[in-house]
Every structure is written in C-alpha cells, then in structure tokens.
C-alpha cells in the first residue's frame, strides 16, 4: 500500500476539438521513432547533401562579390564569361545545385522512409491497435493523415528544411537582394517538391505497411519496389542505348570502311582499326614515309567519321528521349522528373550549355590535338540539357505517381477497416 494513495481523482482540464486529432497520432509516432539510433544516423546522413548545397551557394555568393580566393579557385572550373559576370548565371547555378541536392536527398529520403515507415501500420495491425484508435474520437482519415504526418515530418526535416536553410544562407552570403528576385522560384519549387515526395512516398509506404503484420516483409517489399524498379528501368535504358549505338555507329562505320578501305599496314578488327601498331613515336611529317602518311590520313578520317556517327547517336537519343517510356518504370526517376520540372532544371542546363558549346565551336580548331579530328558537330545549345535532365513529358511521371497514390489509398482503405467491418 503506497504511503500516499490519492485514489481516483476527477480531471477538470479541457479537451481539444477534433480538427487536429491527427496531430496526436503524428506526434506520438515521431516521439517514438526519434528514440531509434538507426533513424538518428539516417537523419545525420541525410543532412550531408545539405552541407554540399550550402557550400555551393556560399561559394557562388562569394564569387559574386569577386572574392579573390574563390575567383582563383572557380576559374579553373567555369568559363571566363561565367567568372566575369556570375550574377547572370546565378539562377542557373542555384538551380543545378538544388537539382543535385534533391537527387541526393531523394536517395536518402527513400532510405529514410524504409527506416521509419514499415512498422507504422503493420505493427498496429499485428497488435490489434485499431479498435483503440477508432473507439476514441479519431476517424480513419485522422489515422491515415497522422501516420502520413510521421513520414512527412522526417522528410521535411531532411528535404525541405535543409533546402530552405541553404536558401537563406545563400541569401546571406550573396549580400544582394536581387537574389530573391532571381531565385525565389527555387524556394517554392523546393517546398512543392518536398511535399510531392512526402505525399507520394508516405502514402505508398503506408499502403505497403498495411499489407503485412510483419514490418520486415514491408521493408523488403519497399526495397524491391524502389530499387528493383530502378534497376530494371536502368537496364532497359542502357540496353536500348546500346542497341541504338550499335545500329548507327556499327552500321555507319562498316559502310564507311567499305567505301574507304584501310591502306596496307592498318590492322582491323571488323570495322575498327587497331591503334596499337602505329609504329611507335611518330616523327615529323617530313620524316614519315608515304605509307605512314597514308595510314595517318586514313586513321584521322576514320576517327572523324566515327565522331560524326557518335554525334548522330547523340542526336538520335535526344530525338527519342521525349517519347522514352522506360524511365517511368522507376519510382525514383518519376519523382526526379517531377523535381526537374518544378525546379526547371532543363532551362538551367541550356543556359550553362551555351557557355560550353559556343566556345567549343569557336575554339575547337585552336584546341586541336595532333592526330585527332576537329569536331564538326554543329552548335547545339541543348546538348548539356539533353544529357543532364530527363526529357520525357513531366506529366507522364505525374500520371504514374498519381495512379500509384490512388492505388495506395485504395489499399489503405481496404486494409485499415472501420470497426463496422471488423467482425
């Protein structure tokens, strides 16, 4: 018998209304998960890309102020016109930096969801907790939103909060209010993209979590869905790229070799010459024999033809990319595509591409290396953008994610039943 036993006492406090009831579910889940050291480690890792983003934005701010050390460092990386007027490329650099940040964070976020999500519904089903929730003033929608809020909390902490924090630091180091005008779109895009990731990945994970009472199976299903899907998509994209390259390059170079047979002394592997037996260090042209000169000319012509075919491959890929469905098989790529669209990464790469492509076209002859052909590829301002950003329509990915979300909601409502259907 305790010394001080006050027995049952009535409670005279005030109960909150029903509107924010989901918050209690979220708060409890966050409180419980934050005690896990695995989650803490994942949170720490997920903040590392944010440090890189902050570094880039800070460096750019210092470059805009023409800080000598930074200029000396960055002029090795960027063309002179960029170093001379960094303000003009501010928006593009910030966009590209944010794009890479989100690509890294997307990877971290999917792992983080794998860490925090599998047990959210499955353990409630396993321990039959639903009657405890639903017999209190908690609706099923409160339960769903509350559980989604747990995932959203961790994703906001790792995706949105660092993005906003980095933006504010970037502003602080730029010392120029014009930055807000140039880059405020990134802030809204970051918020929007973070919300899309949280809503889509969160709902999908909850649906998977409702399919089993064992969270280990849920984790395996999530890993399979995300990583196997991405692997299959990458393999299909790679195989198609290889097929295109073989069709264009091998067929083309074979035809070229048939039209231009190699001179004696050139060892061939199919349509490809061997570069091994070129006779050691080449002497000056006046010291070369006629046969060596002929071989040299032929090799140069072959390399040029090969380079042109590679350019054709690149053009073919750029032509096919807007209708390529293979990236849609990867859940992560679909999110990435929406991120590209929200951040307008394509325009940023086009602007940066111009700074690379125009000087290349003008300075190409000057940059010629002995024995290598001069690139005759036409100026293509989109070359960088075609390589670095997804080109298929963003609404395809939005459609895939939308269907996945609707399916997730359907599964969730079927698996998490009201008490009217429990028995």
């Amino acid at each position: 018998m305790p010394i001080f036993d006050q027995g049952y006492q009535h409670w005279a406090g005030t109960l909150a209304g029903h509107r924010w009831r989901w918050l209690a579910v979220s708060r409890h889940g966050v409180r419980t998960l934050r005690k896990s050291w695995v989650v803490r480690i994942m949170l720490f890792i997920a903040w590392l890309p944010a440090l890189a983003l902050v570094s880039v934005l800070t460096l750019w701010g210092l470059l805009e102020q023409q800080a000598a050390t930074v200029v000396a460092f960055l002029q090795r990386i960027f063309p002179p016109e960029v170093i001379a007027s960094p303000q003009e490329y501010r928006s593009a650099i910030w966009t590209v930096a944010y794009s890479y940040f989100f690509k890294a964070e997307l990877f971290c976020a999917l792992f983080l969801v794998l860490t925090v999500g599998p047990s959210l519904v499955s353990r409630d089903l396993r321990f039959n907790a639903l009657p405890l929730y639903l017999s209190r003033p908690v609706r099923r929608i409160d339960y769903f939103v509350g559980k989604l809020g747990i995932i959203a909390y961790f994703l906001i902490a790792t995706v949105i909060a660092p993005a906003v924090g980095a933006y504010l630091l970037g502003l602080a180091f730029s010392l120029d209010l014009g930055v807000v005008h140039d880059t405020h779109r990134l802030l809204w895009a970051s918020l929007g993209y973070g919300a899309v990731i949280a809503l889509s990945a969160g709902t999908l994970m909850l649906a998977l979590s409702s399919l089993s009472r064992r969270s280990i199976y849920v984790g395996l299903a999530w890993a399979g869905f995300i990583f196997l899907g991405h692997m299959v998509s990458s393999i299909l994209i790679g195989v198609q790229g290889d097929i295109d390259r073989r069709e264009i390059v091998q067929t083309g170079i074979k035809q070229w070799v048939e039209k231009n047979p190699p001179p004696p002394g050139v060892e061939m592997y199919g349509p490809y010459p061997s570069f091994r037996n070129r006779g050691g260090p080449r002497g000056k042209p006046e010291q070369q024999t006629a046969e060596e000169k002929a071989r040299e000319r032929w090799m140069t012509a072959w390399s040029q033809a090969h380079g042109e075919l590679q350019t054709q491959v690149e053009a073919h890929r750029a032509e096919q990319a807007p209708t390529d469905w293979r990236p849609l098989l990867s859940y992560a790529t679909n999110l990435d595509r929406l991120g590209d669209w929200l951040l307008d990464t394509d325009s940023a790469w086009v602007l940066l591409g111009k700074t690379v492509e125009r000087p290349r076209a003008m300075a190409g002859p000057l940059a010629r290396t002995p024995g290598m052909p001069i690139s005759t590829a036409p100026v293509n301002d989109r070359r960088l953008a075609d390589r670095m950003a997804w080109q298929y329509p963003w609404y395809w990915s939005a459609g895939v994610l939308g269907v996945a979300w609707l399916l997730s909601v359907f599964v969730l409502t079927r698996r998490v039943k009201s008490l009217d259907r429990l028995k």
Binding site: A16, R21, H28
Partner: protein, 301 residues
C-alpha cells in the same frame, strides 16, 4: 438519461444484429447480459457511434448518435474486449497517448497517465513496455487508458476475461469504485453473472438482437412471498408429501425443497408439518430469483 435507443435495427448482410431495439438507461451502473450473438458488442459499437444502423434513433449522454459521434467518443471511455495495444511504448506512454487521442494536451495526458496507473495498480510497471505485460496487467492498462480523460460514461466489454481470481476481484472492485464511489456511469458487458451482480444496479438482457429484460437488479431479483427454500435433516420426499397433504406444493431440488404455500398460508404451515413428521428443519428462507434465474428466464432457457 445515460443512453436511449429507439427502434434501432442493424443488419450485416442477411444477419440482423439489432432488431427494432428500443432501450434506455438512467445514469448508474448498467449490466449488459446476453448469450453469444445476442448483439451486445453491436449495441456497444452503436452507442459509441462506431457503426451506422439501418433505422431508428438514439442518443448517448444527450448527444445524437448519428450526428455527434466524435463528441460521444470524447465523453465516453471504452475498454474493448479484444487484446489490443499501442505497440512499442511503456505503460505510461500507452495511457498518455490514449489521453492525447481524446484531446488532452501532452503534458496533461502524461500527468493524468501517472495518476490513473497508480489507481489501477500498475504504478510499478509503468515504465515497462506493454508487450511484456501479463493478461491481467493488460486488462488494467486498458482500463487506465479508458478512464484517462475522466469520461462521463465508461463502457467495459468483458473486462475480466482471462484474469485470475485475484485479478478479477480487483477489476470488479475498480469498476464498482468508479461507478459507485466516483460517480462515473458504467456499462458492464460480461458473461459472468456474479461480476455483473457485484458491479451493476441495472440490467439489460439481450437475445437475438432484441431486448429480453430490463430493470433494476434488485427489482428483477424479486422475492416470491409464497415460495420458500427449505432444507431438512432427513429425506426430503416424505416431508414434501406431508406438505402436499397440508395443501402446499413444491419440488425437490439439489439442495433441498422449494415449497409454494397456498394463498393465505404462512410459514407456520411448514413448521407444523415438520413437527407432525418429527423432521428437523435446517434451513428456511423466502425464495428470491437469482440473477441466473432472471437471465435464464429472459433468454427462455
């Protein structure tokens, strides 16, 4: 009025769980009795607004069941029959979470959780994870979670299920204290008639979804003025024959005789018959219906 249902019908496909049920109860401790499938759980879920019903009207604590479901659940504490837990938390976290789900502020819920865990006798186990609790501890934990927000009405669905005799007695004492000592209204659903009798003042007996009997337990356990339970030292049959000769009637039961006196007769008739037969009367008391009698009579035994 604690609750009132009027003409409520609830069907699950072809099965009718509640059949034009009209029942009401005043504040106090109400026992809910009925055989399996009688509709007890459906009635409880209807009162909590957890399920819709096909026809009829109803209110709990003056709140319409159809339109004020969340308000009803906020004012009612419910301890479900099934084993159910919020996983991965200690006992005190379990109860405070239950309070937060009812709308309590986190600090209030935590303070109150400690209080009610003390009250139900789980003070020393409050920091243990709930998965490690025994069956009896889980039942008491669910009770603590049901009363954490100090409800006006507490609904206990089979609260003594799976408990050992000592734990069962503690649970009954807690339920009785809450209903009779703390002024909390109670709906106590159980198969165990002694438990209901120990806790409740009123009784609602259901069968096949319909109301079979209702009223105060003392009223239902009515006294029968002309009927007596009698035990004698010798064989009961000769004594019963002697009573019949004197105008009474009765039957031999396991533990003696049940004697019905003719109108206008007094127990003196029994004494005189015993004296005439030289029989020794060991037990004589007026017959009262037990709760079991009431229940069996209601469900039509």
């Amino acid at each position: 009025m604690l609750f009132r249902l009027s003409g409520v019908t609830k069907t699950y496909g072809r099965i009718t769980a509640l059949r034009d049920l009209s029942v009401s109860a005043a504040p106090g401790a109400v026992g809910l009795l009925g055989p399996n499938g009688a509709g007890k759980t459906t009635l409880i879920r209807t009162l909590l607004g957890l399920i819709g019903f096909d026809s009829g009207t109803g209110e709990v604590l003056g709140l319409d069941i159809r339109t004020r479901r969340l308000d009803i659940r906020q004012r009612v504490g419910f301890m479900p029959e099934d084993e159910c837990l919020f996983p991965g938390v200690p006992g005190v976290g379990f109860v405070s979470y239950a309070g937060e789900l009812c709308g309590m502020a986190p600090a209030d819920a935590m303070q109150r959780a400690h209080e009610v865990l003390n009250y139900v006798g789980l003070d020393e186990a409050r920091y243990r994870r709930v998965e490690s609790y025994s069956t009896g501890m889980k039942q008491r934990l669910k009770l603590a979670a049901a009363i954490v927000h100090d409800p006006k009405l507490l609904i206990l669905d089979e609260p003594t299920n799976g408990m050992d005799p000592a734990g069962r007695q503690e649970m009954i004492e807690l339920a009785r204290d809450l209903s009779h000592g703390k002024g909390m209204s109670l709906i106590f659903s159980s198969h165990l008639l002694p438990d209901v009798e120990a806790v409740c003042d009123h009784l609602v007996v259901l069968g096949r979804g319909a109301l079979l009997a209702q009223g105060g337990i003392q009223e239902l356990k009515k006294a029968h003025p002309n009927s007596f339970d009698v035990r004698v030292k010798g064989e009961p049959e000769p004594f019963l024959a002697r009573l019949r000769a004197a105008g009474a009637d009765g039957e031999v039961r396991d533990d003696g005789l049940r004697v019905r006196l003719p109108d206008g007769a007094t127990p003196d008739l029994i004494w005189r018959a015993a004296a005439a037969l030289g029989e020794q009367v060991r037990h004589l008391r007026p017959h009262r219906s037990s709760l079991e009698d009431v229940f069996l009579e209601a469900v039509g035994d």
